[in-house]
């Protein structure tokens, strides 16, 4: 069934090919599509529509109405068939039961309690290359940092960070379908092993917490535990790494913003919000559950909905000077973490990781630039333009350099 049905996000629905995308500013390309109503494209064969919602009001209509715009994955009833993600791929009211279990572990208070540990990991990484005067930001920092934080939180050995970074790369940018399947099996195996160990010997970590949780007066099943573990793993690593990459690229090429932030670290929180708005990396997708319409566009049950949050967050009717990056923008009611019941579970963790990265980096490296004059930016994950929901636009590499005090001595 799964293999027979054509992907609802088939590349032929594209209206704008990758050649039209500016690698360093895919957001601008999205904006060129926006301005009208939702963009409709018919999918060959099965006659289902695919709608791109590109402005703030359309996005809000859809994401705040899960009864009509569903996240439910058809295969949920048989989770063994596919790599299903709980609770991201179920609708309310079932969704709410899982979120009630998970929310306390990711609440602002819980994240604040982890801040010293997050800061320690961040500082350790920066100091590992500080004296060198240069790094390849994506490999040396952007992936390692959130992955280390996550492994420690879940209960996995942080010495396996490099291994899990590789899993993240292969899951989101697989070399082939079988490569993707292999990495899913490897992730599942690590999770099974972890839950198995914690079942007999609980510790103070998220895995043990999940094992202690009950839903409808019963413990979570092995499949539910795996599914939740997968979601945490998939949703939290690539996204933070990508946002770090765009944020630090921005600071490298915008000396005024870099200096302002280095001199006034108290601006870090508002800066994080503006990075999240200006460089939004998430694309939400939904399925129309019952016939409806947005802006007069008739949508039929079964149609696909793609909501890239990037153009939404640069919608001029919602944000003042929407095209400008403003370090101390206030108010900044962006939707970088989505909207409605599926609001990113890890949003408070991500915000904290990003803020600490800015604070600790700029305290040690207040001045830095793109490291190689002949560096040509390459980015992956520009596929939202081709209609693939979960891809995250990501710099493939980012060489940075700075004056090292050690080197100068």
């Amino acid at each position: 069934m799964v293999s027979d049905s054509p992907s609802p996000f088939s590349p032929q629905v594209s209206r704008l090919g990758p050649a039209a995308v500016d690698v360093l500013d895919p957001w601008e390309s999205w904006q060129r599509l926006s301005g009208g109503g939702p963009i409709s494209t018919e999918i060959d064969g099965d006659g289902r529509g695919c709608w791109y919602l590109l402005d703030y009001q359309q996005m809000k209509s859809a994401l705040q109405n899960p009864a009509v715009f569903s996240s439910q994955k058809d295969s949920y009833k048989d989770t063994s068939q596919e790599f299903v993600l709980l609770p991201g791929e179920v609708d309310p009211p079932v969704h709410r039961k899982y979120r009630t279990l998970l929310n306390p572990a990711f609440s602002p208070g819980q994240v604040a309690a982890r801040e010293p540990e997050i800061r320690r990991i961040c500082v350790e990484l920066i100091e590992s290359f500080l004296d060198r005067g240069s790094c390849e930001f994506m490999n040396d920092f952007a992936f390692l940092y959130p992955t280390s934080v996550f492994l420690g939180m879940l209960g996995l050995d942080v010495r396996r960070t490099t291994e899990f970074v590789e899993y993240t790369h292969r899951f989101t940018r697989p070399r082939s379908a079988s490569d993707r399947r292999d990495v899913e099996i490897a992730i599942d195996a690590s999770l099974r092993e972890l839950f198995g160990e914690r079942r007999s010997q609980p510790r103070d970590d998220l895995a043990s917490y999940l094992l202690s949780c009950e839903i409808d007066d019963r413990p979570l099943t092995d499949e539910e535990l795996l599914s939740i573990g997968r979601l945490l793993f998939i949703a939290g690593l690539d996204t933070v790494a990508a946002t770090l990459g765009w944020s630090f690229h921005h600071l490298a090429i915008r000396p005024q913003d870099r200096t302002d932030l280095a001199v006034r670290p108290e601006l870090s929180s508002t800066a994080v919000e503006e990075f999240l708005r200006y460089y939004s990396v998430i694309t939400s997708s939904r399925t129309v559950a019952e016939d409806t319409s947005i802006n007069g566009c008739p949508m039929h049950a079964g149609d696909s909905i793609v909501i890239p949050l990037a153009p939404v967050n640069r919608d001029a009717s919602e944000y003042e000077a929407a095209d400008q990056f403003i370090l101390d923008r206030r108010p900044n009611r962006h939707v970088g973490f989505g909207l409605g019941p599926h609001r990113c579970l890890g949003s408070h963790l991500a915000r904290t990781e990003l803020r600490i990265a800015l604070e600790e980096w700029l305290a040690r490296i207040p001045d830095f630039s793109v490291g190689h004059p002949d560096w040509r930016p390459e980015a992956s994950g520009l596929e939202p333009l081709l209609g693939i929901g979960l891809s995250v636009p990501m710099l493939s590499s980012l060489p940075l350099s700075w004056a090292s005090t050690k080197a100068a001595d």
Partner: protein, 75 residues
Amino acid sequence: MADHGELTVALRPGLCSGHARCYAIAPDLYPIDDEGYSALEPTLVPENLRQLARTGAEACPEGAIRMDETATKAG
């Protein structure tokens, strides 16, 4: 701008999704529960906190916080 009248803030049912942006701006005015969702009861905002209350309410991406401003009746 001088404030006249009263400001009450309250939660619109079913909209809070735990962004906690109100709490980030004014934790004392906008308490959250263990899940990180708003625990706001309808609150008459003290005069000196009205601007902060508005900023906190306006920060909500869901529009989950209702502001009821009542003007003082003249004379």
